[in-house]
């Protein structure tokens, strides 16, 4: 399947290998940072909304009574 690269096989495979490794590293780091930041922001947003929910709950309970 791999074409005959002759005496330059090392150079061609080295160039492709190094490039694919660098691109894979960039993609993986970007995905990891994106997932980590989304998770962290979700936690902070949930915390920011929590006091509102706690304040609302007694009112709801009171109206039920």
């Amino acid at each position: 399947m791999i074409p005959d690269l002759g005496k330059y096989a090392g150079a061609v495979m080295g160039a492709y290998g190094a490039s694919i490794a660098l691109l894979a590293l960039l993609v993986l780091v970007s995905l990891w940072q994106a997932a980590r930041m989304k998770r962290a922001l979700d936690e902070v947003e949930a915390r920011a909304k929590a006091p509102v929910a706690e304040e609302a709950a007694p009112d709801k309970g009171a109206s039920d009574v």
Binding site: G6, A11, S19
Partner: protein, 243 residues
């Protein structure tokens, strides 16, 4: 509808969230298709032998290495003139991508140069300008990390970006007016007489499209991360005020 609507972080997140899967799919198709076509289905060159296959990575990476800096220049100018945060964050998000493309251009160029030119490196105007551009990318990323206040960091990095544009311009166009050095002229141009043969040109165009779409995918993803980081910093600051 105006393009400035996308300077609104909420609008940007909505639009980029919708766009991202489509651009990712298209990038994968072009990149994998182009590299497969170039690597497996094209013949060796009569002069370069099989090293001609390196152009499918080297040329798109080098084009994108300089083009990303020009994109950063435009978004930096938008920040300096109109103070849109998404614009500054897009420039910040693009820098590591541009640095990676520049590194790939340098590494693959050196690997190709050794058997073809007989040397890994030459202090040729285009190569030297491209190396300095890589150092500017490193400086730009370091400056963002070194300054605590994000607006000040955006101001300083925007100025650095304007200065670095000289080297992006030189690495792209030095071969046209700086008549010395080893590097050849453009592999592809609108002037048909200068173009490489069609058998190499079509997979090369496909790879260029793939690299460009990969850049769009990554810059959208990374800008979304930066927008989220900025929102989180604002929420944490509010928490501290209320505590």
């Amino acid at each position: 509808m105006s393009i400035w609507e996308y300077a609104n972080p909420k609008k940007f997140m909505q639009t980029s969230g919708w766009l991202l899967p489509w651009v990712t799919g298209l990038a994968l198709v072009c990149l994998i298709g182009g590299l497969f076509w170039g690597f497996f289905l094209t013949p060796d060159d009569y002069k370069q032998g099989s090293t001609v296959k390196i152009i499918y990575i080297h040329v798109p990476a080098a084009i994108l290495g300089t083009s990303v800096w020009f994109m950063m220049l435009v978004t930096s100018l938008i920040w300096l003139i109109r103070r849109h945060h998404v614009s500054a964050l897009a420039a910040k998000a693009a820098a590591p991508i541009g640095l990676t493309f520049t590194l790939i251009g340098l590494v693959t160029g050196a690997i190709w140069g050794q058997p073809m030119w007989g040397t890994w490196w030459a202090w040729d105007p285009r190569l030297t300008a491209f190396l300095i551009l890589g150092l500017f990318y490193l400086g730009y990323i370091a400056l963002w990390a070194a300054v605590d206040d994000p607006d000040t960091a955006a101001d300083l990095t925007s100025v650095l970006c304007i200065v670095g544009s000289v080297f992006a311009f030189l690495s792209r166009y030095a071969v046209l007016f700086w008549n010395q050095g080893l590097h050849q002229g453009a592999s592809l141009s609108l002037d048909a007489q200068e173009n490489v043969s069609d058998v190499y040109a079509w997979p090369l165009w496909t790879c260029i499209a793939g690299f460009l779409l990969l850049f769009v995918t990554l810059v959208l993803l990374r800008t979304r991360t930066e927008v989220r980081a900025r929102r989180m910093a604002a929420l944490l600051a509010r928490e501290r005020r209320l505590a």
